[in-house]
């Protein structure tokens, strides 16, 4: 499964995506940077020298390749999800989060680098152009699984909102369980354990007992799960 960040320019896709990837221990894939590497030139030059149609074709190809990977944080360009093919592939590869912001907030964030924004460069009224582009893309953005408004939020605040929103899709404690199944089986076979992050915080004969023992050791924000570790006899019965 991948986490896909999409949305208008200046909404934090790259900044949040990099931090999210670091927190997850996943690679961060920036589709725009990938396109630039493949084309050997910045996106603004692709637009001026070869046109938007060529850029969009490069974008489709990059997305088609990237979605085959797993456990990646993928940041797309602002217009990528407008393409039906891109949208279908991205949604099939994982959860799509659309980051939004009010037009004035976007302008404030991109104002100093307008030349690098081919969709805005040369616009007499950048704010009006932003509003027009947002209106054009609104229907596509609305198809994201999760939408988060980044207006007025710092990058860390935005990251926290994204993290809270994706937690139902991720389970780090379950991943820990899978990664250490044999060792946990030898030590805790036939018992329930409570795992938070990457450590066992309590054990018990029942789920309730394990959780009650763990409660005092868990802070409010910690993700935790109660898991049964089969004993060899249980494993045989489960398969019957």
């Amino acid at each position: 499964m991948n986490i896909v960040l999409t949305g208008f320019m200046g909404t934090g896709k790259t900044a949040v995506g990099q931090r999210l990837a670091k927190r997850l221990g996943w690679p961060f894939v920036d589709i725009d940077r990938l396109i630039e590497q493949r084309a050997g030139m910045p996106i603004s030059e692709i637009f001026t020298q070869r046109g938007e149609a060529v850029f969009r074709r490069l974008e489709r190809r990059c997305i088609s390749r990237v979605v085959h990977g797993q456990h990646q944080v993928i940041a797309t360009g602002g217009g990528a999800i407008v393409d039906l093919q891109n949208r279908a592939k991205l949604r099939a590869s994982g959860v799509v989060i659309c980051l939004t912001a009010k037009p004035q907030a976007v302008l404030a964030r991109v104002r100093h680098k307008l030349a690098a924004r081919p969709m805005l460069s040369g616009a007499e009224n950048p704010l009006a152009r932003i509003r027009a582009l947002m209106a054009q893309r609104a229907a596509a953005y609305a198809k994201a699984d999760i939408t988060i408004d980044s207006t007025g939020l710092s990058v860390e605040e935005e990251l926290k909102r994204v993290w809270d929103a994706i937690s139902p899709y991720l389970c780090r404690s379950s991943q820990y369980l899978r990664d250490h199944a044999q060792a946990l089986g030898r030590r805790y076979g036939g018992r329930y354990i409570v795992v938070s992050g990457d450590r066992v915080v309590a054990t018990g004969e029942t789920q309730l007992e394990a959780f009650q023992r763990a409660s005092a050791r868990l802070s409010g924000a910690q993700e935790a799960g109660v898991y049964y570790i089969p004993s060899p006899e249980d494993a045989v019965a489960a398969r019957a």
């Binding site: 139902p168 899709y169 089986g185 076979g189 309730l208 799960g225 109660v226």
Partner: protein, 150 residues
């Protein structure tokens, strides 16, 4: 004769969560998933063995306590197991998070359930999701099976 109603297949591009089969100490794999339940002050992950042959989900009775439910105040039903045994089950609707969605689902609680894992049955889950069991790849793919018109 009326035509059988064609089931709507999972549309391409719908959110999908993959659950690798869990490995037991004998090295055998089974479709065991994680879901979250609300325990009065936090969302807690629990495991459940996905059983497409079970009409209802059945969790251990201590999970009811964990959720702050009093078993004897719940609606009691009797279910018949595959071996002919009849089991009293206490039902309630609980709020869960599973495969990226949050919803209410009917769950039975039993203090007679002997296996270690909770059981995820069809009611409330299989209507919302398409479950694809790939035993060869040891992967359960869960896809939301219907969305609002896009």
């Amino acid at each position: 004769m009326s035509r059988p109603r064609r089931l709507k297949a999972a549309s391409p591009g719908l959110p999908r969560v993959d659950f690798p089969y869990m490995k037991d100490t004998q090295g055998h794999f089974a479709p065991i998933v994680y879901l979250q339940v609300w325990t009065r002050n936090r969302w807690l992950y629990l495991q459940a063995y996905v059983d497409s042959g079970a009409s209802w989900s059945v969790f251990h009775a201590d999970v009811a306590q964990l959720l702050g439910l009093k078993l004897r105040q719940l609606k009691r039903r009797y279910v018949t197991l595959g071996n002919g045994a009849v089991l009293p089950i206490y039902f309630d609707h609980i709020r869960v998070r599973f495969a990226g969605a949050e919803f209410s689902v009917p769950v039975g609680f039993s203090d007679a359930l002997h296996m270690g894992f909770n059981l995820m049955g069809r009611a409330g889950f299989f209507t919302k999701f398409t479950m694809c069991f790939n035993d060869r790849a040891r992967l359960l793919t869960v896809t939301r099976s219907s969305r609002s018109p896009r």
